[in-house]
């Protein structure tokens, strides 16, 4: 993992002290709320329905046990004993009080964490593949480039007041697990015909009220030009992006209104001007950062483990967990273990302070001290020996963290919704809870197969409903909650925006409607090997619509 250098430590400490002074001045009345609000947002501090909410950055979703223990400590000491993992690979606290925030930030700085650029119209936390450095299908580790982007974009003076927020995602694998095509910039590491490694650059993706899939702006960017090309894109956006209407201010609107051809011309012209400037990445610097992400000292092991196989045979719960949550690792004898934060009937992404400490202990003992947060609101132990998997499972199980459902219907993304969020129109969490209870039978979930259900409580789409195989959007109708269903969305390398199936459903009817969609799929599929998404792509909306509105 990357370790802070002197520069990182200094600027985070400086920011803590600046914010402490700003909070004191706000409480003393020397700053009005209008003056204070942009300052608190620059430090990840929102005011939600019931209390303040602090959003803490987890750069590219990678963190260690000391950081997890600190997060647990903050949940216990300053909050209500739990935290919430978000779709941005960040973590949120829902109940801190204003005067404690500078001290919380000081405690976070002790473990090289902060809340800078988790809000505001700036370049936000760069997100990535949760299996980075462990995935079998990886070309190069994307975290190296995420870290370079983090260093470049942190407090970047030119890009602190953009027309709107700006999100970058990077994948280094052939399977896109980072949803790069629904980000402002999506970078896919690829090899060109000569075998050189660089980036395919996508621009203008996003969700919200105008969902769009990003367009390829450059097929191959040599890696030494990463920052100059990003700077060229940001510069064109900063200059031409709309500031008159916040709903039309994201770069996706600029791409749509200008056209990708014309925009590409502008970006390339700016890039030509700056590509050989100080932004050109020195390869020795790339190598230096690469060293921070060097593979752990994996042991040379057999590809199979007798202990693992015996336990899988003996223990059905373990077998189900392995089937759903364990993924192939690049190194023989190791596995990637996913920890679902979607136990039956619980709030997606929530985890208690004690559970965080269990995960920290497991990471330290069994996963080279590494933990990952996923944009699907789960956690990952990326490097677990097959021999250790049963022990890991047993410990997780005792802590209520061994739900076997990854990628299945109960592994839902859900935003905090109207239970917490000041922007929401409808509740998301209780809908997710009711769906997870309705589909609690694991055999039924396995029979349904891969199905990504995503719920947002408003059109801002923090719950990624546009790219859910089944998407649910909460809307307000005269003070009452209704839910619109979309079908056919997809966040991976074949990204697609879901289509609205028809009129919305009441709070009391939405779970039945989801079950009708699922049952329709089970009736029409060409065998178990045809997934929900494949079946939808074959038949379209019609059969689902027919059943839902019969």
């Amino acid at each position: 993992m990357y370790r802070y250098d002197e520069f990182d430590s200094d600027f985070v400490q400086q920011r803590v002290e600046q914010f402490r002074d700003q909070v004191e001045r706000r409480i003393a009345g020397d700053l009005t709320e209008d003056e204070f609000k942009p300052l608190r947002l620059m430090n990840g501090l929102y005011l939600q329905l019931h209390a303040y909410m602090l959003r803490v950055a987890i750069p590219y979703g990678t963190f260690n046990s000391a950081q997890m223990r600190k997060m647990a400590h903050i949940a216990r000491k300053y909050d209500k004993g739990y935290a919430h993992f978000t779709t941005r690979q960040n973590v949120q606290y829902n109940w801190p009080v204003l005067k404690d925030i500078p001290t919380i930030l000081e405690e976070l700085a002790d473990v090289e964490m902060h809340a800078i650029q988790t809000s505001g119209n700036c370049i936000r936390n760069t997100t990535s593949d949760q299996y980075a450095g462990a995935a079998a299908d990886e070309i190069e580790d994307p975290r190296v480039y995420c870290e370079i982007i983090r260093q470049w974009s942190s407090l970047h003076p030119e890009f602190t007041f953009l027309p709107r927020k700006f999100k970058v995602a990077v994948t280094g694998a052939t399977t896109d697990r980072a949803a790069i095509r629904v980000h402002d910039i999506g970078l896919a590491i690829k090899k060109n015909a000569e075998g050189k490694v660089g980036f395919e650059v996508h621009v203008g993706g996003g969700q919200g009220r105008t969902p769009m899939i990003a367009k390829a702006v450059r097929d191959f960017l040599p890696k030494e030009h990463l920052l100059s090309y990003l700077e060229a894109i940001l510069r064109v956006y900063n200059q031409l992006g709309r500031r008159d209407n916040k709903y039309k201010a994201r770069i996706k609107i600029l791409v749509h209104e200008t056209g990708i051809e014309e925009l590409r011309g502008l970006i390339e012209a700016e890039w030509e001007r700056i590509k050989d400037s100080a932004l050109k990445l020195p390869l020795e610097e790339v190598e230096r950062i690469n060293d921070y992400f060097a593979a752990p000292a994996w042991e040379k092991l057999d590809a199979t483990s007798r202990l693992f196989e015996v336990k899988r045979f003996e223990d059905r719960g373990f077998a189900n967990w392995v089937k759903a949550n364990v993924v192939a690792h690049r190194q023989a004898g190791y596995a990637i273990a996913n920890i679902s934060l979607k136990p039956e009937g619980e709030a997606p992404g929530d985890i208690t302070d004690s559970q965080m400490e269990v995960v920290a202990d497991l990471a330290e003992k069994y996963s080279f001290d590494e933990i990952r947060a996923t944009h699907e609101q789960n956690l990952v132990l990326p490097h677990v020996k097959l021999d250790d998997l049963f022990e890991v499972y047993s410990t997780l199980s005792a802590a209520g963290l061994a739900t076997a459902n990854l990628g299945l219907i109960s592994d839902m993304i859900a935003c905090p919704g109207l239970d917490y969020c000041a922007l929401a129109n409808a509740r998301s969490i209780p809908v997710a809870q009711a769906i997870s209870k309705r589909f609690s039978d694991i055999e039924r979930q396995f029979d349904i197969g891969e199905l990504k259900l995503k719920i947002s409580g408003c059109i801002n789409a923090c719950g990624h409903h546009h790219v859910g195989h089944i998407g649910i959007l909460g809307v307000d109708r005269k003070g009452e909650e209704y839910y619109q269903i979309t079908l056919g969305g997809n966040a991976n390398e074949n990204a697609a925006i879901g289509k609205i199936v028809g009129p919305s459903f009441s709070y009391d009817n939405i779970v039945d409607a989801v079950e009708t969609v699922v049952n329709t799929y089970l009736e029409i599929r060409n065998g178990k090997e045809e997934s929900f998404l494949d079946a939808y792509n074959r038949v379209g909306l019609a059969p689902f619509k027919e059943r839902l509105y019969a």
């Binding site: 706000r26 409480i27 003393a28 009345g29 709320e33 005011l47 939600q48 329905l49 019931h50 209390a51 303040y52 209500k80 109940w95 009080v97 204003l98 005067k99 709030a347 109207l418 239970d419 917490y420 929401a424 409808a426 509740r427 969490i429 209780p430 809870q433 003070g479 009452e480 909650e481």
Partner: protein, 97 residues
Amino acid sequence: MALQIITANRLLDGEVVYFGENAEWIENVSGAMTVEDADGEASLLAAAKTAEASQKIVGAYLMKVKRDASGIHTLSVKEEIRAKGPTVRYDLGKQAR
């Protein structure tokens, strides 16, 4: 005019508060001061302005309510949740006290 009260969040902890019959900012909607005319509305807004200027509250706004024999009732799901706490965690928010 419809029956209205004024609500905000407390600056120090973000707690949902209402301007009360006792002319204090209180946590329970049942004690909120209700108004039904333009003068009453202006007096609530003036009270909020004073409280905002003295760092007690932020984000004040008027909201419609109804009253029956059992007391004051909010009219939307959002205000009901603000008045009680998350519907998914009865151990949190005002409802837990």
